[in-house]
């Protein structure tokens, strides 16, 4: 069998290095407390994202946010939120080890993702994120730019998603 194709001119797929991922649930009325603890004004509209100095946050649900930060900052963030708990009850769960992030970049990235993603990606603005499906696996899809996506996959679904991407890459590479 041929060696798996990981990239060609139009699309490349890469597993990104680890990052601190946190899932935050907090009442929207108390969002200012969470914003202060994380050092970033958290977005209120579902899908929207913000990023600053390696910290990033996306709103995934009416009271749910996904936070990203450098791995080294994870303990400090957890401590900050623990201190903020007296001001506003919330749940902050560290999910860094639960997921892998796969980067999909290239001019045909949007078309490539449509292999297994049911969303109309042309309507998805850069900087936004959505929880959705990739084939049958639940993923968080982040759009960084017109031609750059990230998908966050639970590690138990990773072999399935990764195999699908490999097959799709090979199909794209041979022009199918």
């Amino acid at each position: 069998m041929n060696a798996p194709v990981k990239s060609f001119d139009a699309v490349s797929v890469a597993v990104l290095p680890p990052v601190a991922r946190l899932n935050l649930r907090i009442a929207p009325a108390n969002l200012a407390v969470a914003s202060a603890a994380f050092g970033l004004t958290l977005p209120t509209k579902i899908g929207q994202g913000v990023a600053k100095k390696g910290h990033a946050a996306w709103c995934l649900g009416p009271d749910e946010w996904l936070l990203h930060a450098p791995e080294a900052d994870q303990a400090a963030i957890v401590a900050d939120f623990t201190a903020a708990r007296v001001k506003a009850p919330h749940s902050l769960t560290v999910i860094s080890d639960r997921e892998f992030t796969i980067a999909i970049t290239g001019p045909r990235a949007q078309e490539f993702l449509s292999v297994a993603c049911p969303l109309d990606l042309s309507r998805m603005a850069p900087g936004t994120a959505k929880r959705t499906l990739f084939d049958t696996a639940q993923v968080v899809l982040i759009r960084d730019a017109d031609d750059a996506f990230r998908i966050e996959v639970w590690r138990s679904f990773f072999p399935h998603v990764s195999d699908l991407l490999d097959i799709a890459l090979r199909e794209f590479a041979c022009g199918l």
């Binding site: 579902i46 749910e64 049911p118 959705t132």
Partner: protein, 99 residues
């Protein structure tokens, strides 16, 4: 594929992201122990199952995770509207007049 409007995400998304969750507006009895067996059976199992407009619950499980209600025509599969859980069933005549 059906497209369903999630009132929380305020976006129209593919049906794959959603899960059906039965008929809407069925209130749990305040004091179940006071109910007769027949009333309890009706609460648990007896549904209206209409041919036509049906108020039903859906969950945006592969999205924002929220339950919401929808008015769907069971014959044509057309969604008239969706609205957040806890809201009363919208007036159909108004909706139809608006179209």
């Amino acid at each position: 594929m059906l497209l369903i409007h999630c009132p929380y995400c305020d976006d129209t998304l593919p049906e794959l992201e959603f899960a059906y969750a039965g008929e809407a507006h069925i209130a749990r009895p305040a004091d179940p122990s006071k109910l007769s067996d027949e009333e309890w059976r009706d609460f648990l199992f007896i549904r209206s199952n209409p041919r036509g407009l049906h108020a039903e619950r859906w969950r945006h499980i592969n999205g924002c995770g929220r339950f919401f209600n929808a008015l769907r025509d069971t014959v044509s599969d057309r969604f008239l509207t969706t609205y957040p859980a806890g809201h009363p069933r919208p007036d159909v005549t108004k909706l139809e007049a608006a179209e």
